[in-house]
Symmetry: C2
Subunit: 345 residues, 2 copies
């Protein structure tokens, strides 16, 4: 019996922000016969959750710098990390009813060929499946790998975290507090400020109505800057940096959606990276995965399960909402880890 | 008998480029009685050479970020590394006729109190005294320390060196060639291009009549960028960087003399430091001195003496020329290591 197999296709390269329904296209014209479709040695996944992450904007560009995440193909489904449940399997390592995590297309059902590209999730950790896309998934890994590899954090140092209410920043705040650092954190709404305080930030502020420069001048100097935004906040952080400060360049979301009306921000303080002996280190999660993955899974999921790491999720119901969610994460109007719930179970 | 003891005073903080005679003031009103002046346990130095370096611009600003080089005081002599000959000494570790190297004021004679601030130079190395301010001094140390500490150079990698004909860049080129790297180097005149070729640069170009972007696109990607200039060249280097490239941020001379007509350059490619996992590392020579000084003196002066490291000097005769030399080094019109010859011997 044919079942709908709706998809979200990449439709057009955006010039500035992604535009819902223009950048992407929801398409419900395809069907799948879930019970009889040939698997050819693979396994059939019913997709439950798909992750929406800022880096997806890069994959909408015609060329990306790194091979870890190839560009999306126009007319083909978008792709990102997701969690699904296996309905049928011809692969001896994957069983029906297993929950699997890995890169999945933005559609309802998918026949996976290679079990090595997926991780079977444990059932007994008391963690909702969606969290394997956030604190226990790529965003948590981003925070953990970057922090462990590059922060060189010492007790009583001061760290500034931008987008501190986001899924990466919020984990960074909690890791830093656990190590005894003073945390300054920024976000774009008063509600997010309250969340950052609730997870331990010593100084939390709304950058839309407070000056980042003034806050850092008053509460700095900073030894570590976890940068998710670039632009003006980066400039203020360079100005407020202590000698030998480490800048972990995780993202520069303020500079991803430029246009002729919104040209790149001209940093006024960049020369201070020489004078102050600052290190700015750009990084991606994939090249660090092999070195830090086992530590991550041994450390973070237990901390999430016992409440030591708190998180916020922003769940969109149904694939139809993908376009709006892609826009929101670039504009910063999401509240917590952005996830599409494709199906309830 | 009184002898003239001319000085060059810091006169006014420049708003853009230093202005000869305005930023500095030559003053020959003081005298010294060389034979009878009391030494109070110190030693009398007749200053022979003083170094002119780009970082002196920072010391003309009211506050500098690092304590290694405090701001100059208005009305007091400028100060930088120099070489002098000892005329008289009451210090048991310093003898008359010793040549000493260390921080000295811009004047003809100076009574030094602390022998620990000076290094007695060896007489038997076949190296002109002025070279202890260039390849065998702070500029050579800058090249050597930065390269050894941060380049992570591997044979057959490609390095781009800006201001490759300068005293730092030219040593970097020669160290890189010795390790088997491909070297791309830029400078601001055809004469400097010829010098860079003569010391081994594989691709040498005049950035004033060739596009840095095009040269790097054709001859890159680059694994290491030795940055002396910042701005547009830095932007082109980020664009041409291979994944995991190392950027050694030694200076950003194009951004040191900004004004309302010449605002900071807006980097267009900065977000690529995340995508390409680039590291930008600002550094100063002083914090690395203890770790690398002995290696430096064991390695570089012998290479200079036997001709393995070639160098260019741009010598100004007499303290009166200090103001012009300070301007030239910011504008890039000097040809080689800028040095003031205060006295012939």
């Amino acid at each position: 019996m044919p079942t709908r197999n709706a998809r979200v296709l990449f439709n057009e390269t955006p010039t500035g922000y992604p535009e819902p329904g223009k950048t992407d296209k929801y398409d419900d014209s395809q069907t799948i016969d879930v019970e009889n479709v040939p698997l050819n040695g693979g396994f059939l996944v019913k997709i439950l959750y798909l992750s929406i992450d800022p880096y997806m904007k890069w994959r909408m560009e015609t060329s990306t710098a790194m091979s870890y995440a190839p560009p999306f193909t126009i007319g083909e489904p978008l792709q990102n990390f997701g969690v699904g449940i296996v309905l049928r399997s011809e692969n001896p390592d994957i069983k029906a009813a297993d929950h699997v995590h890995g890169l999945l297309p933005f559609q309802e059902y998918f026949i996976a060929a290679n079990e090595k590209a997926y991780r079977v999730l444990p059932k007994d950790q008391g963690i909702p499946w969606s969290v394997y896309l956030g604190a226990c998934g790529m965003t948590g890994k981003t925070a953990y790998y970057g922090w462990v590899a590059y922060a060189e954090a010492k007790k009583d140092e001061t760290v500034f975290v931008s987008t501190g209410a986001g899924p990466v920043g919020s984990v960074v705040i909690q890791l830093a507090k656990k190590q005894g650092l003073k945390v300054i954190a920024s976000a774009g709404s008063d509600e997010k400020v309250e969340f950052m305080k609730s997870i331990g930030a010593d100084v939390a502020f709304n950058y839309k109505n407070k000056s980042t420069h003034e806050i850092l001048e008053k509460n700095g100097p900073i030894n570590i800057y976890w940068d998710n935004v670039g632009g003006q906040a980066l400039d203020a952080a360079i100005d407020a940096a202590a000698p030998f400060a480490r800048f972990i360049e995780c993202g520069m979301i303020s500079q991803y959606n430029l246009s002729t009306e919104s040209p790149p921000y001209a940093l006024k303080n960049l020369t201070k990276i020489v004078k102050k002996c600052l290190t700015l280190r750009g990084f991606l999660v994939t090249p660090l995965d092999e070195a830090y993955r086992d530590d991550f899974y041994a450390t973070i999921p237990p901390m999430v399960a016992n409440g030591e790491i708190k998180l916020l999720e922003d769940i969109t119901e149904g694939l139809e909402g993908t376009g709006k969610a892609l826009y929101a994460i670039q504009a910063g109007t999401n509240h917590g880890k952005s996830i599409i719930r494709v199906a309830a179970a």
